[in-house]
Symmetry: C2
Subunit: 297 residues, 2 copies
């Protein structure tokens, strides 16, 4: 495979960063505080993994980045809203995120709650605005439904609920899989899937990509857990070892590092297998699978 | 006008209550706490004004309740999410709402934040699901965009931000109008508008109804302020006089009760004037205008 992944990621990240800057109300928009708080967390950097997966999902079925850009941005806004709310004192009570103070440490709790609410709301507005770039508006309705499903109580929110309720308790491997599949994997899966769907992918193509997305998402969370054990705070941009301190359920804590690494690798290999019928256009997603395994932050 | 408003409201409220019960995940759905928290606040009663306005908006252009029911439910979920988050200790710190303990008093802050997030998310999923009941899916995209606009930082969230930031300060009449038009009127306007739009209203019909909605929404908030001064806690279901204790900006505080009543009446008369071209099908909205003025809770 001749794909230069670093270049691929850098180019798409630049496009996404530019688009995010454009879809967020400009600094100074009334009322200024909430817009500043929204921009602070969204424009704090980050890998832009979810928007890049939306783009890669589109490209895998022959589509283009600009067709799906509003929805790519929406995925990053939903991810950021979830981080802002998860970091709140009533939830995980984290002080650092992406190497900077968390939103509520800078803007206060009320503004952090409202900035998160506003980002989630704006995200759905962006998917609706994506209608002008696709031929069939029914696809937009399906993506809104999919996104609501993956972000709500059958997805991300419920993953966070069970995660919080499991703190300090012994969790079973099944519960841990449940948390991981909903808290992280659901949004990663829906990112790839939305891209393929918006770009006009066939039912079979969307299914292959969704199945790969499930496995990529789970592997991503397992690697995240491994990094929390192994990494240092400077590289991670958040406090390393924080999962253990909070007695959070993690994959390495339950299964050990060795088994965790093997499981992540196996899931990523399965993902690559699912993508095989798509051929060369899916090369970026294939490369992303390796990137997820090898990442250090 | 021979419309029996009490009966009209009771019948539609029953339909809405039934639909809300059906769209919310049943008690016991995993994870149970967040679903219990969602059901607790949504099914706490309430006037169901916003969903009834969605239905009345549809009926005013010749549509039927069942065509717009998923969106009608969505409006109530968005309203409820905003109440749950507004009541949080970091925001208005209220203990009672609709005559019962607020969500966070029963389920804790983390769960209240997540239940609100889940309701907002589910709301957008419901609007998307409404696609199966309309002929043109582009209408759904427009309603999602409209709803995101009315609920986000150009609407409800920004009204709440300015409201919080104005506590304990002297606000100008312009700032107060700004808060009212965004915090309450935007969602009331979009309720009527969405109903008319989903039911296939013409551009002119949707415009008349939107203009009436603006005025109904502002009048509703002014009457709310008046009730907070005049009402007693038992009738209101929340703590009366709480605006004054928190030194919240209110219409009577700035303009006096007499002027406030006159302004509300004038706005409602303007709303009725805007609805005149729609004829008898708009009778329920006309009657709702009087109901808003005369309500005691």
């Amino acid at each position: 495979m001749s794909l230069d992944l670093d270049r691929y990621l850098a180019e798409r990240r630049a496009l996404v960063d530019q688009a995010l800057d454009a879809v967020l109300p400009v600094e100074g928009t009334t009322p200024p505080t909430v817009h500043k708080a929204m921009r602070y967390s969204v424009l704090a950097g980050g890998k832009r993994l979810r928007p890049i997966l939306v783009i890669a999902g589109a490209e895998a079925v022959g589509g283009r980045a600009d067709t799906v850009m509003p929805t790519a941005c929406a995925l990053e806004l939903i991810h950021t809203y979830s981080l802002i709310h998860d970091d709140l004192p009533a939830m995980d009570d984290d002080d650092y995120r992406r190497g900077r103070l968390t939103n509520h440490k800078v803007f206060g709790e009320a503004m952090a709650i409202l900035a998160g609410d506003a980002l989630l709301t704006l995200a759905f507005g962006l998917v609706a605005a994506n209608a002008s770039r696709v031929a069939d508006p029914r696809v937009i309705c399906a993506v809104v439904a999919d996104l609501a499903h993956a972000s709500g109580t059958d997805g991300m929110v419920c993953g966070q609920v069970v995660d919080i309720e499991s703190e300090g308790k012994t969790v079973t491997p099944d519960t841990l899989d449940y948390i991981h599949s909903r808290k992280t994997a659901a949004l990663i899966r829906v990112s790839l899937r939305a891209g393929a769907f918006l770009a006009g992918g066939s039912a079979a193509q969307v299914r292959w990509i969704s199945e790969a997305g499930d496995r990529l998402g789970l592997a991503f969370q397992i690697v995240d857990d491994i990094l929390d054990v192994e990494g240092d705070s400077a590289t991670l941009g958040k406090t390393a070892g924080s999962d253990e301190r909070k007695r959070k359920a993690t994959y390495p804590a339950l299964h050990g590092l060795e088994v965790s690494r093997k499981r992540a690798r196996a899931l990523l290999d399965e993902a690559k297998e699912r993508l095989a019928p798509l051929g060369p256009p899916a090369a970026p997603i294939q490369a992303l699978a390796d990137f997820i395994f090898e990442r250090r932050s």
